[in-house]
Subunit: 230 residues, 2 copies
Amino acid sequence: MKQSSGVRAKGSRAQSPVEPGRRERNKQEKRARIIAAARELFGSQGFADTTTQKIAEKADIGTGTLFLYAKSKEELLVMVFSGDMLEQAQNAFRHLPASGSLVDKLMHVFRYMIEYHDQDKELAKALLKEVTVLATSGPRRDLARLMHCIYSGIGDILAAGQAAGTIRQGVDPQLAAENLFAIYYLTLLNWISGEISKPRFLKRLRAKLAIGVEGLIEPAKTPQKSARRT
Amino acid sequence: MKQSSGVRAKGSRAQSPVEPGRRERNKQEKRARIIAAARELFGSQGFADTTTQKIAEKADIGTGTLFLYAKSKEELLVMVFSGDMLEQAQNAFRHLPASGSLVDKLMHVFRYMIEYHDQDKELAKALLKEVTVLATSGPRRDLARLMHCIYSGIGDILAAGQAAGTIRQGVDPQLAAENLFAIYYLTLLNWISGEISKPRFLKRLRAKLAIGVEGLIEPAKTPQKSARRT
DNA sequence: CTAATAAACTGATTATAGTCATAAATGAGA
DNA sequence: TCTCATTTATGACTATAATCAGTTTATTAG
């Protein structure tokens, strides 16, 4: 019933606020071995052909132990790659170009993610299948972090646009960010599932984002510049 | 090597262009039994707790036969419910209200689909997990029909709006339709995965669709009517 | 009709994800 | 140091999705 997450403050010198303790260290070290083994095997054999046995063997743990760290093979997959995806997303926002249109900025961000998935399309497919349903769901903490990073990153871009006066004040940046991500995400899934080529995909994505940004409404008969072909 | 899809034109009277033949009839009948059995069991026991054994038993076929009709348990799930979803989508467009804003119309359409999934959230979750990745992919014919129905339905609404002059001519209705569906879909997934209540979800969806329709761009300093709160 | 061919069916069998009773390791208290 | 309680680890075991070699059934040709 106690929580005792390796907090240890025994005896005299325990100056650093949290000292792990052997138990916690072992656990982390094992967790790291599991992730390393799974990453390598998923990468070389693919998701379906990698058995949990092989992962346990490679990580040098018992077969049952694996499921103490991930409740299922699918969760293991997410565990392995959600960290990578978060890093990729953070990089995307860190290297955001200062100039350029909103669509350019969005394409910059999404291209980082696209490049990541392009490394291994099969794996990406399996991964996205899991992520799609889990991402929004409660107890997947790491995915929640990823989604928050993405949504707040895009939200910040939009808020900056509002501050600069290029984006309507009335728009909730959070909701708009979710919209733009949704557009990206379904287009990504379409690409991952085969069919369409990468250049075509990128072009299509850009066109869709442009529509998402500009909206669908006819600008109420003001014969100004941007009204094309009547 | 021959194709011989039960075409049968034997002997004298074979006036109707394609007469099934016993083999094809058996197959269809068996397929129907499988779908009926699977639907009932998935509905009462849920996806995970329904074994393929139980389905085969209930459909009165061998365990192996099941996998002649669906390559996997997941495909079986899609087989069972994609027909329902298509019907639901067709109903939504059939009963489209003549008046109302674009957002109203979209909400009308999506509400039909939402009501369907609301009947059994757990099942919907399992179903959407499969559908999300397969929907776009090649060899899933029934899902392809579903997506085409949805996209062309929304596309038609938008094209009508263009004809009426309320929607910008420059917008590709197909791409815009995919955007609006994407907004709906990720919001749906978020709802299905728990957390948010139905009224909140509907409200949020409407707000997002409004943003998707109106766009994000500041209307270039024309102090006209529709510019809210400066 | 009969034989030959092809398609559809079958359930015993296999592969593997995930469980669970038991054992080992760890840390706290004395 | 030696208990004792709690957490973590283990691999034999179970459940079940999916396969496949062998069988049955339908169709076509003669």
